[in-house]
């Protein structure tokens, strides 16, 4: 839940909990700026991104299915009858 004070909260994954910018160089404040300061992505972009990732997950799952042996047998038969150039 937001605290109501601007909505900026540290990223949970940020392992640098102490914000002592003075010791981190001139651009330290930019580096420590919370991710939520980034403008929100456009709605359509987010939907397309989700669809894109789902598509890739769908395709990857299919491609990771074990291949039937018939393809290996087929290639072996083709190679036996028509040996490839050894290049």
């Amino acid at each position: 839940m937001e605290s109501g004070s601007g909505g900026e909260q540290p990223d949970d994954d940020d392992d640098d909990q102490e914000c002592d910018y003075a010791n981190d160089g001139p651009h330290a404040r930019d580096r420590h700026r919370p991710a939520k300061a980034t403008p929100p992505l456009h709605k359509e972009y987010q939907i397309n991104d989700a669809i894109g990732k789902a598509l890739q997950a769908h395709f990857r799952a299919l491609a990771e299915e074990p291949l039937p042996d018939r393809f290996k047998v087929l290639l072996a038969e083709l190679e036996a009858k028509d040996p490839h150039d050894d290049k």
Partner: protein, 200 residues
Amino acid sequence: MMTNDDTLQERKHGGPPTRSFRDGLIAEMPSLRAFAISLSGRLETADDLVQETLLKAWANAASYRPDSNMRAWLFTILRNTFFSLRRQRGREIQDTDGIYSQRLATPAAQHGALDLADFRIALAKLPIEQREVLILVGASGLSYEEAAAVCNIAVGTVKSRISRARAALADLLGITGPHELGPGAASDAIVKRSVAGEPR
């Protein structure tokens, strides 16, 4: 269906396939099969399509340019084979109701509107012309130009079909805004479920 002997007869004019060609075929088999399943929805049909494609590719190895994209070349052969069979047999070649890929997904949890099982059902409902370009560009990694060549259509047609396909998917999935993608990134949840949570 071609036989191995037919294939060798057709190879009269070309030299024997190179080792790199053969290795390329082997490397592309998983993606080729995934594309075949996405097109036909039937595992048995998909495997027949892959076998036919391998035979034709072997027979026409001499026409393959080593500097071109073998995946796009193989997908073109498979797609042409699929639509040729579809013309001969009608819709029996494509079974979107019993689509094989839907049986792969058994997500344990729901994290918003987008769920991989729901997504696959929606994907199967798309017209084949939209589904194929979405798979080619959005999943298999082909460029718009390569997808256009595979489907023998203009690049602009690829883009417009993809745009319509995305809109149709969003509609079928009931997504009208990012808030319906669930807390955090729903797409990340989909990917996690796909990688870790599905039975083989």
